[in-house]
Symmetry: C2
Subunit: 469 residues, 2 copies
């Protein structure tokens, strides 16, 4: 994910035209029927002009830090140039990650300053290859991992950041896999050194990384998985392999774990940060490994919540070596976004994961698929923890009738914005009032009155299958 240059250069090289009403425009969309084969013909990098000028594509752009509405759909003009070693990918599906939510609030320093296109992973078809690219060809179906810049219809990335999609894997699955599975894999098997008979605590077990981690745990003999999630998700995570589902909203997860495993746990994956990292450390067995990989507790409300951020800093876990020595413990930090230049390691992990996929041992679970126009709602669903599995975006154009629906909803969206504002203010108040309570509890999402319907899962899979033919 050292592909900093590519998308940044794209940002500067092409004209940017901001749409005020995201759902309206997409005029110059590539024809829906465009297939990998069709795209192959005009894709030579040496071709110049008129296409360079007439080529347009839609891109999501973070225009500034703030709420869900800061990510806008824009149309860009001009075909991005390819440098040696790069490929141009026609993007089909994009994955959403927690880092994207942090980035929108200005809490993720791996994303350049706005305006910038977010997006760390996607699936699509190679439409052009640059010089010196020998292992990818036009028409290859690939999944892509990049530091940012993948939430758009066309992306230029180093070929080394692409992975061939195996037979039988849909574009949806392919977009849902890279970040979550590589993250879970490296945490469990590199830092965690997971072995048979061990015990693992997976927070947010119904989230993307949570589901991936649970599936990967089950590839090792007799591993006990403790998974936290709200009660409504327990059936799903138990079916997914969680041995002991814990409702962190109504119960003290530390107590629940101790009841079953009094000596503590071998591995704890901690995406929360703050006071939960302290709890995790105390819950480790001798030779136990705590792997912290985020600070989700910092995210309270859709805009940066300074109290939550400050509290997270204040409670940030800090450890002395003497304590580690006397406890025989390990504390690790992981974030795929900072693993720049470690593509060899990442590729090795990816190959193992794809082998497990082919053996039927892991399979991304899709929560919902959204159009680019709906990115705000997609982010909301994830941030409010209403998802079970991965939230993804499709680049497929929104049908006309849906667009009209969206337009009608614009008014309602305005209402929702006010509602969000109120919620945020309330959260801030809560923050002030409940400073001594755990961060996590505060994030309990309020039930929403109305929600855009995401594209139906079955429908999408059908289309994906057609496309693969």
């Amino acid at each position: 994910m050292s592909g900093e240059d590519a998308p940044a250069q794209q940002q500067n090289a092409v004209d940017q035209k901001q749409e005020t009403k995201p759902a309206e425009e997409p005029k110059a969309e590539p024809p829906k029927t465009e297939s990998a084969e069709a795209a192959a013909t005009p894709a030579a990098t040496t071709e110049k002009a008129p296409e360079e000028e007439t080529f347009t594509y839609r891109a999501l752009v973070l225009t500034g830090y703030g709420g869900y509405d800061k990510v806008k759909l824009q149309v860009k003009k001009g075909k991005p140039a390819l440098k040696a070693g790069e490929v141009l990918v026609r993007v089909k599906v994009c994955g959403l990650n927690f880092a994207d939510l942090m980035a929108r609030q200005g809490l993720y320093d791996r994303l350049p300053s706005p305006p910038v296109t977010p997006g760390m992973e996607c699936s699509g078809v190679v439409e052009a290859v640059g010089e010196e690219v020998t292992d990818r060809k036009v028409g290859d179906k690939v999944m892509v991992l990049n530091r940012f810049g993948l939430w758009q219809e066309v992306a230029v990335v180093p070929a080394s950041h692409t992975f061939l999609i195996p037979d039988g894997m849909s574009f949806e699955e392919a977009a849902a896999l890279p970040v979550n599975y590589i993250t879970a894999y490296l945490m469990l098997f590199d830092f965690g050194n997971l072995r048979p008979n061990q015990s693992v605590l997976v927070h947010a077990a119904a989230g993307g990384v949570g589901i991936a981690a649970t599936q990967l745990c089950k590839t090792v003999k007799d591993v006990t998985v403790f998974g936290t999630a709200s009660a409504s998700k327990h059936e799903a995570i138990s079916q997914g392999g969680v041995t002991h589902a814990i409702d962190y909203r109504t119960k003290d997860y530390v107590e629940e774990v101790r009841k079953i495993s009094p000596k503590g746990l071998d591995i704890i994956l901690d995406p929360l940060g703050g006071s939960d990292t302290h709890k995790a450390y105390n819950l480790l067995k001798p030779m136990g490994k705590l792997i912290t990989y985020g600070a989700a507790n910092m995210l309270a409300g859709q805009r940066k919540n300074l109290i939550a951020v400050a509290k997270n800093w204040y409670h940030q876990f800090s450890i002395h070596t003497l304590s580690l020595i006397q406890g025989n413990k390990s504390v690790c930090g992981f974030h795929l976004g900072y693993l720049d230049g470690e593509m060899e390691l990442i590729t090795e992990a990816m190959n193992t994961i794809l082998d497990l996929y082919k053996q039927g041992k892991v399979k991304p679970r899709i929560d919902s698929t959204w159009h680019l126009e709906q990115v705000g709602d997609a982010m909301r669903k994830m941030q409010e923890r209403n998802n079970i599995g991965k939230v993804i975006l499709t680049t497929e154009p929104m049908p006309e009738e849906e667009k009209k629906e969206e337009a009608k909803k614009e008014d309602k969206k305005e209402d929702k914005k006010k509602e969000d504002k109120k919620k945020d203010d309330k959260k801030k108040d809560d923050g002030k009032k409940e400073e001594k309570k755990d961060d996590k509890k505060k994030e309990e999402p309020k039930k929403e009155e109305k929600k855009e319907e995401p594209k139906k899962e079955e429908e999408k899979n059908e289309e994906a299958k057609k496309e693969e033919k």
Copy 2:
């Protein structure tokens, strides 16, 4: 090593008689010819009286915190009673460890307050077994691992803390193996997750753990070992498997490593603490593991050096999770002395190590063997880093002529004490003057004018072989 009870109870149960001149007394020594078979006959635990009273054995006792002379040889009376699950071991050879040196200065909280017998490992022969012991029998040759209490001729320990000595392993090797090899093994393969093609930094590569770690690294394909040691030891450590020997006294080891491995290292074993832990952290690659297992920098001089201790505390490494996350790094603490109650894990590691020994892949290297009377000099050799490999003690009685030699040296010892005092004072001064310099450099031992000759290695091995017959 949960055997707290056994030695402690021993301490209280038997009479203690302190010798003022260590070399003089040992009257009631067990006959030199006593073999495992001979010992087997009178060993039934049910026997009572007169033996209980006439039974005596020599034991090293830490009488207070301080210099080398605080460990005294005493004669104890009364046969220790055996509880269920325990065995009585007639000790042949004891291993010295860094923790013993720390303990003497009052810097190791796993040793009860003086008077107490130190010693975490030994080899010997089972002389009696308590009830419920099914897997050990009288005459078994064993190595023992315990929290303390093994520097004596007779030790009572839980049977689970003993491991059968494999064929062909001498008592010397057996006493040198447990602490160093289990420590190195768990650090490299549990926390470190060492894999082919990785790079490892081993500090004090000529020390007991250093040599064990180097040998264990070489059991994995294409592992590069960076080893620090003073120049005079480079030939030995290179032959032992160190790829790049670095003289930390004349060169900046960080620079030396960077020259060869600009991206840094996969695993760093850190026995030093203080500022060296900071250096190690910065020298890690992404996904790198720093395993800290001591604070040797605290040991400056033979008595507790408050400046060195304070400096070590002041420079003690402390890490925030955010730094770990952004660096994709792992910081682990290890100390076998705190792994109480994890005998299953330890036994598993030991079995693997013994398999490697049988395959000829690991073999403890003995630096020197000393009589119990010489424990002060043995500790000095280790603390002043003059050893290559393990420093061990034999319980074999000192020949009469050697005793006379020792007695003559007593006067010289008095001189040496003054010399030591001067050294310590000088160190304190140095400490004040050079507070900004690295801790380690200060420990550079002055060349000594005279030294007792330890028992010759070859001679000892010959005897060991005879004994095994």
